[in-house]
Amino acid sequence: MTFPVDDGRPIFQQVAERIEDDIVDGSLAEEAQAPSTTHFAQFYGINPATAAKGVNVLVDQGILYKKRGIGMFVAEGAREKLLARRRHQFYEQYVVPLLQEAEKLGISGEQLASLITEKGRG
């Protein structure tokens, strides 16, 4: 089983991130219904209480909202909200480790920059 990942982070947090990913890449559109916690639990083989906890994190953040008796839905503006937060985290999560590894390998800043632009050109 590939999920949950044993990286020491709580499972509920990973659940929340999975849903966030789906919203960010558009597979879960705004105003669309999110999978029920039971479906989530079954799909990933996790406890329903844990799945519910992950969903509630997003409710607290205003990413999801509850329609009584129907289920959870993606809030309007959720995608933009998540994108803003992820752009903010991008430097810490991706750029810092990249620079560390480059330094270890003796790749200079210029070489690194040209690697990125080359890749960008295809």
Partner: protein
């Protein structure tokens, strides 16, 4: 009220302690993992809990009362054993009919659904079933019983990966529909670790771990790298075990690594990663001396 409560429970056979002073409380409607090596005492504990064995000393309570010869309490308990025996001439449908009369909350619908998913022929005699099919019968009884306290002791002997997935999926479905207290004893820890809310780890009859699963996920970690550097990093930390390959050393450490520790390990040129539940159990029960709190 607790679903189950054990106080100082000891079970001895001729001076040998199969269970040694076990005290624990199981809350209602949660999923518990009962883990430990073969012979650790898991099965004995489940037998005592379900009033199929007398404790030598200590106290057992199920839903607030002593379960022994207590019909009301016993109807709330369903215990699926690793090698469950059924009467010689019973067919699968006979087993289910008897079970349905024993458990007040029995769901015929659940039983039927599972028969289909496991592709189990209802009219086949139980003694003609393969090991895996027999396990499937136990799983059907356990889930369809909807018993307030359901215990599964290594329920999937002989079951293939597909059938185990059927079990997990239906367990979640059933539990979500009608919450109940579930105790799952398993050696396939990686497969069930996401399901378990609370872990009991038993070693040589003693309870050596009683912890929320979520907390355990950050409770131990491994560090690996050149032996001298790892040893320097380990100074003062609580080491569970070490494995060496030439000049390369991997150590398991009890405690929270945290972001600071992770960064410190990386700076020292070491690889650090949290231990999975399965690895933690192996480390805590794998050595000959046994695990002692605070040992280094």
């Amino acid at each position: 009220m607790h679903a189950a409560e054990l106080k100082g429970l000891t079970k001895s056979y001729g001076g040998q302690h199969a269970l040694d002073g076990i005290t624990l409380k199981m809350e209602e409607n949660r999923i518990y993992g009962l883990l430990g090596r073969n012979g650790a005492g898991k099965t004995t504990l489940m037998h005592v809990l379900t009033a199929q064995l007398f404790a030598t000393s200590g106290e057992v309570k199920v839903f607030g009362s002593d379960p022994f010869e207590n019909e009301e309490a016993l109807r709330k308990i369903c215990f699926i054993k690793e090698s469950q025996k059924y009467p010689e001439n019973f067919r699968v449908c006979d087993v289910l009919a008897v079970a349905s009369s024993l458990y007040p909350r029995w769901s015929a619908e659940t039983a039927e659904q599972l028969l289909k998913e496991f592709r189990l022929p209802q009219n086949k005699r139980v003694k003609k079933l393969s090991r895996g099919m027999l396990s499937a019968v136990g799983i059907i009884v356990g889930l369809a019983s909807r018993a307030e306290l359901t215990l599964f002791d290594e329920p999937y002997l002989g079951l293939d990966a597909v059938a185990r997935e059927i079990f997990y999926r239906n367990l979640i479905q059933e539990y979500a529909e009608l919450p109940r207290t579930i105790v799952l004893s398993s050696h396939l820890i990686d497969e069930v670790s996401g399901l378990l809310e609370h872990i009991y780890l038993i070693d040589r009859g003693r309870l050596i771990l009683d912890e929320e699963a979520e907390l355990l996920r950050s409770r131990a970690y491994s560090v690996a790298g050149p032996a001298a550097k790892v040893d320097a990093f380990l100074g003062g930390r609580s080491v569970l075990g070490k494995e060496q390959l030439g000049g390369f050393l991997r150590a398991s450490v009890l405690g929270e690594l945290g972001e600071g520790g992770m960064a410190a390990a990386r700076t020292a040129g070491l690889e650090a990663a949290p231990l999975s539940l399965q690895q933690l159990v192996v480390q805590m029960t794998g050595n000959e001396a046994g695990y002692e709190e605070g040992s280094a």
